[in-house]
Subunit: 154 residues, 2 copies
Amino acid sequence: MDSTPGTPRPLELIPSLVILGAARAIEFYTRALDAKVINCFADPKLGGHIVHAELAIGEARFYLSEEARDWHNHAPPSLGGSPVILHLEVLDADAVAARMEAAGATVVYPVRDQFYGERSGRLRDPFGHVWLISQRLKEMSAAEIQAGIDAYEG
Amino acid sequence: MDSTPGTPRPLELIPSLVILGAARAIEFYTRALDAKVINCFADPKLGGHIVHAELAIGEARFYLSEEARDWHNHAPPSLGGSPVILHLEVLDADAVAARMEAAGATVVYPVRDQFYGERSGRLRDPFGHVWLISQRLKEMSAAEIQAGIDAYEG
């Protein structure tokens, strides 16, 4: 890391999910992804809405908060989707995807072996956030992956 | 971590940003956030569009790809926003926010001291992704933060 003034030198990059129904979402992530709640703050002045919660799936942390349009916090249903795919690397993609689906997630792309050395699939959770559940099958070089892209026919 | 079958035991949770103009976005993240490109894969069959790139800001990794609506990959302009706030913890929030703004980001909330022990602000990058640039000022207990929320008057 250099010492240029203004260099970020970040300690962490953590996705923070805006959710319509944050309390129910915590139940979902707990059941579907074995998430643990580290902290959860509600605002009694906002009807007890969750204004910030910190969750962890194993070592992987994420935040969430209740939708608050007046504060520029829009949940997926208000936008019709999400432009951020949450790439969760796991040891058993089939098991995790099955557990998510059983808890109410929708399969967008089923889990399958991918040419780039992963076994992965995409699911949309009941709150509209999108997860790529990915299991590493083998290490591949960038050149091998690029060759796979060039040869890929959809 | 328990050994329940299907427990995710994730290795990592990495946000993957769908972007309209991924190649220009890489330039922006390089200039504004000192991001390094670890890998970048383009598909010659798709006009050279970037189908997957891996970037790192210090130790913090993220992915990005070009918008591909036929593949359910919608960028922020197609949705009118993003429901995922990218919380980037840095050592100097003012410097990083100034650098982002100089590179073309829009300030949503200026950097200021927050009651929960952070100095932070929110910026929207030129591609519509939303960053919370956050500097830790002091450690606070959950009870102290909740008391601040209860007392907060906007």
